[in-house]
Subunit: 337 residues, 4 copies
């Protein structure tokens, strides 16, 4: 009908203008809407002068985005621990650390909307399973996240080098686990009384909470945080740090923990970065994946009414048995399972 066409014609640009000008945060949705959002971005690039760098960047825009998101996160996160530890608590306390990590995530999310602001391989994994995020992107995201964390922790080290020398007792002294050790600036080490099970369980709960709450905040069928999502993530991370942050240091993120740990090993903190806490290093690499998947499953099973494998016959497992191109790619074909 002509009237309908007219209505659509009227409605479209208005909707478009509202979306970009007011408070919509389309980029934070990892599923359908994100894909739609990227199409106009691609068009923008085509309208730009045909520069070599623009083309390269367009191809790498998602890894760049994840890189800088994690970069910002670790810059604030490792930075605040460095300041608190090295100043002997004069320029901050445990509260500051909760602030630093919380706002690191918040501002990292604001920096990486182009890629959906995962900032965490475990979140990417859960999105692959529950939100149809293309599996083929998983390795690239994870690599970018780890590299971003490594770059940021190296910069934190460079910035606080003199203070670390002073704190450790001399240039080049780098130790783990002593009173004057500074390895804890970069990655997490568990409290001494923890068993291996307790370590795993603590990281598991924190990761479950993280993923459950991310899905709650982004669910329009629930209240939904909308444009307040990054601010709410500040509270989520602050809360996890204040409530479950003591025993294992709430890594809840392979990139956040493994990347800086590798850097601290390269800097010269020695083999203890791996062996400390009874070879604790693998716990924050494995447990967040389990926790985030469980948290996503919990939310989708009990509260989510949108499109999810949980709300699909046979839990959508035939998606794995009969993989279509759409499982791997969001570029061609239909996005329905």
């Amino acid at each position: 009908m002509a009237k309908t066409d007219h209505a659509e014609h009227l409605a479209m640009p208005q909707d478009d203008r509202r979306r970009t000008s007011v408070v919509d945060t389309p980029a934070f949705a990892e599923h359908g809407p994100l894909v739609d959002h990227k199409v106009p971005q691609a068009e923008v690039v085509q309208q730009e002068p045909d520069l070599a760098w623009s083309r390269i960047r367009h191809y790498l825009r998602e890894p760049f985005s994840e890189f800088f998101g994690v970069f910002i996160l670790i810059l604030f996160g490792d930075g605040v621990v460095a300041q608190v530890v090295l100043s002997n608590g004069e320029k901050g306390d445990y509260q500051s650390i909760s602030w630093g990590w919380g706002l690191g995530v918040m501002l990292g999310v604001y920096s990486s909307g182009i890629s959906g602001a995962h900032l965490n391989p475990a979140v990417t994994l859960a999105n692959c399973i529950f939100r149809k995020f293309p599996w083929r992107k998983f390795p690239g995201y994870m690599l970018a996240q780890v590299l971003g964390a490594m770059a940021a922790s190296a910069i934190v080290y460079a910035n606080y080098k003199s203070a670390i020398d002073l704190f450790e007792g001399g240039p080049g002294i780098r130790t783990v686990g002593l009173e004057t050790s500074t390895a804890g600036i970069f990655c997490t080490y568990p409290a001494p009384f923890m068993t291996k099970t307790g370590q795993f369980f603590s990281e598991f709960i924190a990761s479950t909470l993280l993923m459950f709450l991310i899905y709650a905040l982004k669910d329009d069928g629930n209240i939904g945080a909308g444009p307040l999502t990054p601010l709410c993530l500040f509270f989520v991370i602050f809360g996890i740090g204040a409530c479950f942050g003591w025993e294992t240091g709430y890594a809840i993120n392979l990139a956040r923990d493994f990347g800086p740990r590798l850097v601290s090993y390269m800097i010269g903190y020695g083999h203890e970065v791996w062996s400390a806490g009874g070879y604790y290093f693998w716990v924050p690499m494995v447990s967040p994946f389990c926790g985030c998947v469980f948290g996503g499953w919990l939310y989708d099973t009990f509260l989510f009414t949108g499109e999810s494998p949980i709300n699909t016959p046979y839990m959508g497992l035939q998606r794995l048995v009969q993989p279509k191109r759409s499982v791997w790619s969001n570029t061609y074909g239909d996005n329905k399972v």
Copy 2:
């Protein structure tokens, strides 16, 4: 008129899109609008494949929602107390506790929009009295809230078991009211100088404040917090904790106090969980109901101009004398008294 039809046709989908995509929080309203909001949800479920679990979940969606809301609340709330107490204040202080409970409520609200995010039997009661929330739902809500609190406190216990053993002085030692006691992690115990009247009064004031402010934040005839409501509730809870939290620990919630108290009794903290503070345990069970009803009455009497028994002849008491189906149910019949 054709023009009017045209206008409606144009207006409707636009309105619809705005409602879901921007910042509306329909689910947080416990009265009329919530009902409207649920109808489309039911339709969504019908469009989904006809799975057994989807049908069960649809029937239980409100108890599930309250369960997880309180679950998140207690996970953060009891978790932060555990971390502060067990680390001897090294990993947090009283400020952290205010943060933890505040953000626990905020994130619990975000998780339980489907059921209206009461998280507290006393809030449910006040909504039944002042906002036409169906009375028949009261028992189910209360049960779900208590069970959510029990589940969360059990998980907090499991997570901090080693640290509790260390703090109490050995595995299996669980005490109430000593220097090394950990019962205060789970539920509230009054300050020693409080009389029974003082205990009741302190909880009463805090509950009154809570309900008064919830109704203020949700009143569109006032400023109204709209999509900022969960964030504002963070400030409400933070404030109650900072200003009226010392004397009785601001339970202001039967589910938050009785559920974890029962769990701590089951764990083995002994009969003292009931007898401590002069059998204090019943105060946070009774006083919040009185306070919340009074707070709701105060707001409706002096400031609320919307639909309320206060603004109804004979204070709407004929609703109790001549109960219609609508008093008990929001599914059939008209919703007018």
Copy 3:
């Protein structure tokens, strides 16, 4: 033109729906828009059953609103000082006090949108001068504000009576200015090293800042905080407390200081509540009026482009020379000077 009519027809209900449903805070504007906002409220009351109480309340709705706004403010504000002082800093510190007053103002504003949320006679005065708030309302507002503060401080006293007895050293002992004194819970006393000029100046700066920032936050020609205004006021009050709160305790409000001071005198704190600090009590009664008027003048002179006496020939002083009814009333007549 028919097309224009059509457009208006289309536009009007949409605009209306957006205004009420999304994030508009009309009630927080003390000038023109507030008046428009109240007209529909009056209509709502007429549609309600014709109850005696509804009629009384409609007449007193603005004083009630200011009463409860200040009531909430002082309940949190005096409450947090009581908790911090009486628990010897165990249940809070100076940070908590900044939080308590900040969120007290924020939640008080949310409670008193019906009257424009002044919460402070000096703000009411500045609005009379710069924003055409009707002068005839000034006495009623001020009275309601003082009464609200008195009621709240009495409740704080009742709640913390046992703890005050304990802190002062015995029941009935109430002192000012000693180590164990508790008069500072209720109203402000200056630091001992302050001269009278310094006291006045400190209150003056803080009040100037307050009014300047209120006008900045509410100026649509500037960025404008819109629905975030109450939250921003939290930051304003927090900031004044953290930056200019030490020397005189940042009363910046006759109602906040004089009301509770009177209550503390009635309770039995003795003549010292007036004589302490060299009869300091009049400074927070006078200085905020000077500061707020100066702050409003500063903003309007240098930044405000809207309707203000500053932007009017002869600074609008003929308004005082030739008073029209509109100067005193917002009910009848035109609102133009």
Copy 4:
């Protein structure tokens, strides 16, 4: 086409109304949109009575706006340091200082939307380079920013004069770098262990972070903070203070550091305000410019897809080789390079 005209006709006033009434913050954009935004402001002034002051103010509105923005910033920022230092940490701690500077920036931004809320000459420079802010405005902005900082620090000094006398040990004693020195209230001095390279690097990182995050928050192609931008800047400044604030005091702003330093020299703190820290004073004058330009370059190169020299052939350098009027002015001519 007539239909398109109709659509535009319909769309325009709606869009206009939404822009002003809801949550748009056009004034915070330093490029194109800001210019559009000012045109109606100019029209408003013309509709006002033709007052001499209105004309003068209209001409100086941008310097006034920057002046008051920095004025608010330094009032809170220097004020909080004064309160914490002079009260020996009784009325605040390092956390308070992070709060004070963070909310100083936030409220300063709200006060200075008319000029784009730069508050920092380095931000102005980056906007000139990357966002086509007219170069001719740079000197005026910088002057206004420095004068605003000077005025505010003089007021902080006046307010805390008695307390400074007490702290330094007598009236007129003003020292730098001792235990009882108060020069650190006004401007930053580096930690003693820092090398000159370390000082520069620390300021450089902090400034890079600042500019990178400002551009991220304001990029609609990213998530974009929209009306939450001032609140997010609170978190940015809080984070820089908590994570990179120890070593050099995070000046990251020539106006914030040089202005108050000059005032403290004029007050009588002596030549040490320049010579302290190995003539440190030039570092926070130079390093923020380098850091902010690098931060802007980083964001535009890797993440920004909008109009930027980075996305222009030859990086837009022909703009410098063949300067058009538009490079210097936003009043006449086209704004395209």
